[in-house]
């Protein structure tokens, strides 16, 4: 687990957001990206399960509900490794601010909630680079469900239906995302994730996030003007 617990020496800065769907993390990351671009920073964005190599296969397999928890875990690790080596690491070397919508912690939360051994999955991801700033958007599953399921039922894997916890997708969602949330909360201490309350306003969260990033950049000798 060396790399995920040791500071990296790249010129660039790695920021990731974590939390269950509906926690508002993507909105916050988008606001952050737009602002960084506006003030002229070199920034790139990467998101979970989006690599050219494997993301389509994973999506197809999910549609057919044919993945065991371990295969599910390894396919996401392939996706992550592909993006880490081809996108994230080169950008960090070139001095970019890299914004990641979900990072290895997503795997630690979800896979463990699916019954995969916590040490096993941590070792699988031991090649990951430790982020300079990792923010966890804490939300109660029932609040998240109210947000994302306003006009649709929870999806199969999102509800953890593969675990046969309940035949009712809403009930299954509550149990499964409850487990995921429990894993996230543990990681606040284990990996130093910064916890934000997802129920705070969009504005107050964005103010906090920008300030945290400004501080991180300052510690790396980058002073940015946020008067815009």
């Amino acid at each position: 687990m060396a790399k995920l617990t040791e500071k990296h020496n790249y010129q660039g800065t790695l920021v990731c957001v974590e939390g269950i769907d509906g926690s508002g993390k993507s909105t916050q990351l988008e606001l952050l990206r737009d602002w960084l671009k506006l003030i002229g920073q070199d920034v790139i964005f990467t998101e979970w399960n989006s690599s050219e190599l494997i993301s389509q296969t994973t999506k197809l397999a999910k549609k057919k509900n044919m993945l065991s928890p371990r295969t599910f875990s390894l396919l996401h690790a392939v996706d992550f490794a592909d993006r880490l080596k081809q996108v994230i690491a080169p950008a960090l070397k070139a001095g970019f601010i890299v914004l990641a919508d979900r990072y290895a912690y997503t795997a630690f939360a979800r896979d463990v909630a699916r019954g995969v051994d916590p040490n096993w999955v941590r070792e699988v991801y031991s090649f990951a680079i430790k982020p300079d700033l990792a923010i966890y958007f804490d939300i109660e599953p029932k609040e998240a469900m109210a947000r994302i399921c306003a006009n649709r039922a929870p999806k199969f894997y999102e509800a953890g239906m593969d675990l046969k916890l309940s035949n009712d997708p809403y009930e299954s969602y509550m149990i499964f995302q409850g487990r995921v949330t429990k894993e996230y909360k543990k990681m606040v201490k284990e990996f130093g994730l910064v916890r934000l309350d997802a129920m705070d306003s969009i504005h107050s969260k964005q103010v906090e996030i920008r300030q945290m990033l400004i501080d991180v950049l300052k510690s790396k000798g980058v002073n940015i003007d946020d008067t815009i």
Partner: protein, 223 residues
């Protein structure tokens, strides 16, 4: 019930044939399958990199040179997990004799040669059941080279060209296969390989393998 148990506690038997490319694994697997079938046992064969889900992705990615050492390892591990959980373990549970062309020893050899940390690779496969028998077809590199050039020809990954040992195909193959053999040699004791001289005749090798399998069957473990 007998006092004999399979190594992993399942009703069936897990038998593996390992060896580098061109060592004659498939031929032996076929012969073994026939001789076991002839005795009315249920046999299932599964080959490396054949999961419906992932095998095509690997082939496609190799063709387009999309793989780095880490994604190479993880994709094969995903293929293995899929086959293990969807085919191999269900077959073992229902009492089949499962014959495998390669097992995770192949990944250990290849991934380590590609520069991965051996402990990291071992972790990827640490949930896999221990086979009841592992045959290893031991072949010197010069014989392998002739066999492969005479049949399929040298291929990019089998020659380890992706690792960058040499831009010369022949040289690269020689270095790569030698390094793989070194890894297999390190595993012989650790994983209890039944090492067989791969230069012996097809019939002789089959006799040796069959005798070992027969020993287990005669113990009544599947009866």
């Amino acid at each position: 019930m007998t006092q004999f148990k399979t190594k992993n506690g399942y009703d069936g038997l897990l038998i593996v044939i390992e060896g580098t490319d061109g060592s004659g694994k498939s031929t032996q697997l076929e012969l073994l399958k026939k001789s076991i079938q002839a005795q009315s046992y249920g046999v299932m064969v599964s080959e490396w990199k054949t999961s419906r889900l992932i095998a095509n992705v690997i082939d496609d990615a190799k063709e387009r040179n999309l793989l780095n050492a880490t994604t190479f390892s993880l994709l094969y591990a995903a293929d293995f997990a899929d086959r293990l959980e969807n085919q191999i373990i269900p077959a073992l549970k229902s009492g089949f004799i499962v014959l495998l062309d390669r097992y995770y020893y192949t990944a250990l050899a290849r991934d380590v040669v590609r520069g991965q940390d051996i402990e990291w690779v071992k972790n990827l496969y640490d949930y896999a059941p221990e086979p009841d028998l592992v045959f290893y077809l031991d072949m010197p590199v010069d014989v392998l080279l002739k066999r492969i050039i005479g049949t399929t020809g040298l291929n990019y990954y089998e020659s380890g060209r992706d690792v960058g040992f040499s831009t010369d195909f022949y040289k690269s193959f020689e270095i790569y296969q030698n390094k793989c053999l070194e890894q297999y040699n390190n595993m012989k004791n650790e994983y209890n390989f039944k090492s067989i001289d791969g230069t012996k005749s097809i019939e002789d090798i089959h006799k040796i393998m069959n005798a070992e399998v027969q020993k287990i069957l005669n113990s009544g473990v599947l009866d």
